[in-house]
Amino acid sequence: METLLPFNQHSNELIFYNKKSSFVQQHNQQLFPIGSGHYPLYVQQNLLMPNELALANTDFSIVLMDLNLQGQVASFQKEAFHTDKINALKFSNDHTNQHLQHVIESASQDGTVKIWDRRSGEAVSTLRHQNSPFYSVDTNKSIICAGTNSELVFWDIRKMKPPLFTYKSSHTDDVTGLAYHPENPDSLISCSTDNLMCQFDFAGKENPQLEDETLEGVYCSSQPLINCGFLNKDMIWAITSINTIEIINLENLDVFTKVEKFPHQADYVIGCEQDRFTSKFAIYAGNNKGELYIYELEDKNKLNLVDMILLPQNPELPHDNIIRNTLRINSDQIVLTTENGDLKIFKYSPEQAQAQNVKSQALELQQLISDNNIEEDEDEDANQMYIGKKKNQNAKKYKPF
């Protein structure tokens, strides 16, 4: 069986930021003082300038990092920083408008949504709404929408204050996820910890301020939802708070599939997205030992493991290495941030694992979506062995420093 195991040796990390490594230490000192316990909460990539990342950190700061210049960072204006946890960060990614293409939005618990100019680091605008905390933000080309602890608030991007209108009825709890359709700026979805996901359609509506008119559909999950997004233009994914993923058809809000179990020992879902480079649905799952599994959804009930990354463990700080963010920055690199403040770039090489996968039909790793757990015991054993083996291999060959 050993020869059949998919094996991916991450020997080619391109850049490695670590506060304990001597390499590029000065950058990290700028990011987080050693031992401060701060780390990046969110990482976003500027799709118009792919070498630029924006980080929202636990010390409420926002910085831009340029990967071309060995990770040099530019901090945004300190005086304008948020004063509480940042809950969402987004690039506007609008290349058609020369002003909007430099815009970054951030939503925070402190009751503000800030609009930043990435060139100057200035907070161009600070939006508030009755001091309610903001949990999510998204924009299409003309409207900024942000979610509070029970409302959706809309602003016109040309005339920031006051809000255009608010939707008070759709949710009763924190609106944790908001997404405009990637191609249709009139379609919006929102999800919340009250278990609901609402879908709005603004096209041709005379009174967009009345949510009765725009509310197209509601999906009720059995679990609180913590994030949502579009998949393939006609589907929606949502991550629940107990680390499962639900995929729903946009058209009639029927459940397409649910990912409830992972073939490996994954403790939590880091994120999922439609891979820009393969257009497959990729799921990133991590566990408390600092391991990352990357799956692709093959079809309705088949998950393929395409890659995995194992971070070195520090036995004194066993939970230090928890991966909080993953981001594919280009077709062969993936950025990770961990709870010890590191930002690491790994080579993403799914082909290796996939090629091996084809051979390893004996080893049935796929499974484990909802109802298909009949041969669970057998599979689990195989997986246990597989995981154990994998670790040994990694332990020998994995030398990041």
């Binding site: 780390y39 909460l41 636990t58 509480d84 946890k85 618990q109 939707y167 008070k168 009825s169 759709s170 949710h171 009763t172 709890d173 944790t176 910890t193 009250d194 278990n195 609901l196 609402c198 949510e211 009765d212 509310l215 197209e216 559909g217 509601v218 009720c220 059995s222 679990q223 609180p224 913590i226 629940t240 708070s241 107990i242 680390n243 009639n252 809000l253 029927d254 939590y268 408390n288 939970h319 928890i322 709870e339």
Partner: protein
């Protein structure tokens, strides 16, 4: 800190049940949990719904918005819930007050999957607003099981403070049933926490009016 032993829970249950006075209502058994090493400013959101093995709140009123097939199932099997059909909803004519006063009679609403999509168009967002949007039942689901699921599910949610309180049973349940519920609840919580049992600072159980009893901490 180690895992809970059965004896610990049994002792706790016996203590709180012995300690209570007679009240004019059925007292609930509550689970109170305090967390440590958990920073709401940094750590991931902590929430979830868990289905307990034994129904903690048997009297919850449930109403089904059903199609013909589901209505028939309710009648034939004598399931103890109210059931209305879709035309009934139309009689509200989008009158928010009427909808609200009707829905507020119940704790949980259920609806057939084909109908649930039409509800926002007929009733508007009012059900969302009062937090009563119906849970979906399909024809493949066992309706009775679904009703029990709805009754037996409890929701954990951590807001800003690192402690929370949920109903986990009632005083009429046997010690065995309570123990199962408590174990299930705590195990579920622990499974969601980054450091598992190390994140638990304290766990108490109490009856609605009684004194709390410490299980962990």
């Amino acid at each position: 800190m180690s895992k809970l032993t059965q004896a610990q829970i049994t002792e706790a249950i016996n203590t709180i049940l012995a300690d209570k006075k007679k009240r004019k209502f059925l007292e609930t058994v509550e689970l109170q949990v305090g967390l440590k090493d958990y920073d709401p400013q940094k750590d991931k959101r902590f929430a979830g719904t868990v289905r307990l093995p034994n129904i903690p709140r048997p009297k919850l009123k449930i109403c089904l918005i059903g199609d013909a097939k589901h209505m028939q199932i309710v009648k034939e099997n004598n399931i103890a819930i109210d059931a209305v059909d879709f035309d009934f909803l139309k009689t509200f004519n989008k009158d928010k007050k009427l909808i609200k006063s009707w829905a507020k009679k119940y704790t949980i609403l259920l609806a057939t999957d084909t109908l649930v999509k039409k509800i926002p168009t007929v009733l508007g967002p009012i059900l969302n607003r009062i937090g009563m949007f119906p849970q979906v039942v399909t024809h493949n689901d066992d309706l009775k099981a679904k009703v029990d699921d709805a009754r037996a599910s409890i929701k954990f949610q951590l807001k800003k403070a690192t402690c929370m309180n949920v109903a986990i049973g009632n005083e009429s349940q046997s010690e065995e049933e309570l123990r199962q519920n408590i174990l299930m609840g705590i195990n579920f919580l622990v499974s969601l926490l980054k450091k598992g049992w190390h994140n638990l600072k304290s766990v108490h159980i109490k009856t609605s009016m009684g004194k709390p009893f410490k299980i962990i901490g």
